[in-house]
Symmetry: C2
Subunit: 136 residues, 2 copies
DNA sequence: CTATCTGCAAATAATTTGCATGTAC
DNA sequence: GTACATGCAAATTATTTGCAGATAG
């Protein structure tokens, strides 16, 4: 019923885009992939990304105020969304002790966990420091 | 330029719905509020909820595979989404040490943080235990 | 061969927005 | 009285889906 997934050029191109781009939205994947495969359609991008997510081959990340983004990094990690540049940064927390998969938290049995920050990323922090230095 | 927000029946009704319902979507708020205010429009619900979120009076919660939900609990907490019943549970983590507001994590300066679990909520866990007991 | 994919275009559905009117203060 | 809000309906936008033809295995 499920069916064995087949390998197609389109899937390869989408996965490749996913690895090169930084937490892209489906549309960003679409635009990237289009340069090499002009006939690849939007519908296919959504279908392939959805399929990958269902297989657990990529992670769909739903960040506040943004379209869905896709992440090829499967190890548990958090995401930081920069208030200034919008960039999404992978953050590997030093301590997942209380929020790890399998843990039970207030009666809730955790199978997956996603942590989302918003704030200022290191790039923008550096940039601001440089600007502050100039002003003096 | 910003303008001082005014108190209207509609805003009161929306806020009231938010407190009674459990992490409702905008549409759930709309339907609840409609029973008492049949003329209140969908557009207004979205505008009011968006306004509350902008003022920081409620929290917009963007959970994977769901429309935006709204939470009147402002204290930092995590959300658990039950794989079985879909219910969204508030979870107050025992240790926010490494992910608290203001902390800097891998160069990223945290201003807001959201933690999302998916798994099985305590209600469904209990239900399953009951069913398992019967089977024996 | 045939089950799975793809492209295309039309369909969904949440959310936003423009505008004329209503109303809080 | 004058901003700010609301209702309505149309617009926008991400995502999904139906279907006929293409293709991987």
């Amino acid at each position: 019923m499920a069916g064995v997934p087949r390998n197609t050029k389109q899937k390869q191109a989408v996965y490749d885009a996913l690895c090169r781009l930084d937490h892209p939205t489906a549309t960003e994947v679409y635009e990237y992939v289009r340069s090499a495969h002009p006939t690849l359609s939007r519908g296919t991008v959504f279908r392939v990304l959805g399929g990958f997510a269902a297989e657990g081959r990529v992670r769909r990340v739903t960040l506040e105020g943004s379209d869905a983004r896709f992440d090829h990094t499967l190890a548990p990690h958090a995401h930081g969304r920069c208030r200034l540049c919008g960039r999404v940064t992978d953050i590997f927390l030093p301590d997942y002790a209380s929020i790890a998969r399998g843990a039970i938290c207030g009666g809730f049995q955790i199978e997956e966990c996603d942590v989302e920050f918003s704030g200022i990323c290191s790039e923008c922090n550096k940039k601001q420091m440089r600007e502050d230095a100039k002003e003096e």
